[in-house]
Symmetry: C2
Subunit: 409 residues, 2 copies
């Protein structure tokens, strides 16, 4: 099967700023029969703090369990990412593979095993082969430092393009850099999906505060996207702060520069999340759904995701059909407070329904023109409160079926 590059791919990889204290290296573990790097090793300087969020799946991979345990210590010296094999649902053999990697890397760096973070993505149900992992690690240890673009390639699976984003913030007089990479294009839904995201900063940030900042950023980025409503066993987002920028460490919002750093981190997470949607399997259109007038923000997010996950809405957009009746349906099925007779809907800038009825004789020309584009905006006003949220998804096309009806074959 040939996977073509998504038509929504950016024209080029955003060139990422290097991060002092974080050196990526890549190698070929050959987890699958392919001609590419599939093991990523990022060495992190001493003193690096870490925070993370993981899948809410009841069947998480051993890597996810490992990262959850390691996160309780808040310190990191290395990140290892295996692509091509998720190592999920593999019992004791899967756990053994994770432990073997931790043992090898902690030996190499002379650090604690709890400072090693491990993620794997790919097929479920086949134990990660320890021999391939160990040989891949050996090769990575002696490899030259890689560009972030190479790492973004190496962590991908069905991704059709590498994904990265950078931002910077001033903490006092110190410029702090943030660079992140992400992988994922299917099995993508809120609360994490087969999505791995890694964000690095040279800022000095207390681990607990870093976790707080990541939770806030995730709520408005990775947890507001969906490709197909499916949630993976392996989803993980980690953020590492090496402290090499030399800023006065941030430990709370009372510290100068904390808001600027928080905003920059959220921007990087949002950029990465959008890239995942742009690479949604089979996607031909990037869809932004802005919900306002909900009972509260969380209710607005749920209504937005009900629309974003509706196969009938997604196929209508694929067909460039302003079928707002399906949006009414999706609002109705969300189970959130709504009043049919106050509901208003727009496509792009054109209001098509207001207060529960179609806008009579609305101009169809701008709506049709908007739907022919590859960036679609849908606006919903529930008319009952002040809650608002924006979510992002892609359309559902023949491409999704083609990719997923013969993925494993």
């Amino acid at each position: 099967m040939t996977i073509e590059k998504s038509p929504l791919a950016p024209s080029e990889f955003a060139s990422l700023k290097t991060i002092g204290g974080a050196q990526p290296r890549v190698s070929r573990a050959q987890y699958k029969q392919w001609d590419r790097c599939d093991l990523t090793f990022v060495e992190l300087g001493e003193g690096t703090t870490v925070a993370g969020v993981t899948t809410r799946s009841q069947c998480p991979s051993p890597e996810v369990e490992w990262c959850r345990d390691a996160l309780t210590h808040g310190k990191a010296r290395a990140l290892i990412v295996n692509a091509g094999n998720a190592n999920a649902f593999t019992g004791n053999r899967g756990r053994a593979a994770v432990e073997a990697i931790a043992t090898k890397v902690s030996g190499h760096l002379s650090c604690e095993q709890s400072e090693i973070f491990i993620c794997s993505t790919g097929v479920i149900g086949e134990p990660l082969p320890i021999d391939k992992a160990e040989a891949g690690l050996e090769a990575a240890f002696s490899a030259p430092e890689a560009r972030w673009e190479e790492a973004a390639h190496a962590i991908g699976t069905t991704d059709t393009f590498p994904k990265g984003a950078s931002a910077r913030a001033m903490i006092g007089d110190t410029a702090v850099q943030i660079s992140g990479i992400v992988k994922g294009s299917g099995m993508i839904a809120p609360d994490m999906a087969t999505m791995l995201g890694f964000v690095f900063t040279d800022g000095a940030i207390d681990a607990k505060f870093l976790q707080d900042l990541l939770n806030r950023a995730t709520a408005k980025s990775f947890n507001c996207i969906t490709v197909d409503s499916d949630t993976s066993t392996s989803d993980t987002v980690l953020v590492f702060a090496t402290g090499k920028a030399g800023n006065a460490p941030l430990a709370s919002f009372d510290d100068a520069g904390a808001n600027a750093f928080a905003a920059a981190l959220e921007q990087v997470c949002l950029d990465l999340a959008h890239l995942v949607v742009r690479d949604g399997e089979g996607a031909s259109k990037f869809i932004e759904i802005a919900v306002e007038g909900a009972e509260d923000d969380e209710s607005a997010r749920r209504v937005g995701l009900s629309i974003a996950n509706s196969p009938l809405v997604k196929t209508a957009i694929a067909g460039e059909d302003a079928n707002w009746g399906r949006i009414v349906m999706a609002v109705g099925k969300a189970g959130e407070p709504a009043d049919r007779d106050r509901l208003s809907i727009r496509f792009g800038a054109t209001q098509v329904a207001r207060n529960g009825v179609a806008v009579e004789d609305y101009d169809e020309a701008p709506v049709a023109a908007h739907l022919k584009g590859d960036a679609i905006e849908i606006g919903i006003d529930l008319g009952i409160g002040d809650g608002r949220a924006t979510v992002w998804t892609c359309d559902l096309t023949h491409g999704y079926i083609s990719i997923n009806a013969d993925y494993r074959s």
Copy 2:
């Protein structure tokens, strides 16, 4: 757009038993430009009791609101079904259309308006044209009695075949007939979908007990199917009991014959629900998902529906791929109690995973043969309790995309 008959269609319409006291008639209201009957009028004898369940959508159609009000009286003299226009999200004009129909039919039958039940299905957002409805009713009033197959045709929209089922039960010495018809093939999910189901019996059943029986039957039939996870604004299932069989009226499970009647009603509802799945938009395979070992029955149903609604599971089945990793994923995302290391999965009769790991060297031949068929069985044992449920769905194919990317056009 041409819609071909589903490959899963039964070879012929099940010939339905006539029901004393229920006379269907059909006519051409021409709600759309098509060459078919689209208005169904079923006259019900005096003394007919009624029960019903309706969509949980927060944006229901005025017909749904009308039926909910009428159900509080428990008596019925007529059912009217309009196909081609759902009359949903149409504000005051939609409500006026429903009232006009109720006025006309109650005048014709010299009965209360609350004894008139009205359902509409089709495009959302366009008020039902009152003139067409009234002319269609006039034509139906004077039409000859129709066969149930003709009524099953007339209530359909994107359905590719008419759907009906019959059963009978003995209440004491009296044979009681039950016949039902249903429409629906997309926007189908639990808690009702764009699904209209109408069941008629000549049994004499107290309205409150009939409601209890319908609730029980629905829980194991219509609420255990899904095509695309989308829930409509118009879903309604009504059951009418004319009493013409002359049995001693049933009012509780203490009455002789109540269990037999309950079983027959459940069988008709289940047969009808299965027919909807067989006509799932684009469906090429009928999928039964049996979940056992869950914390309780409701948890088992939720896990089953999480699997049944997963686009990745549905596309894997379409591709005849025994990708049980996606089933693990769908179990994990259900949010129900589960233990990865006790989870077992089978396709047909072949166990492919047991206690959280793949069964080593399981025989792939019978699995491949099973997946090539058009009736797929997936068995899940969560291994943590006694809860069990069975749900039904269909695969997700290019056909679904084709049908729904240009439905309105």
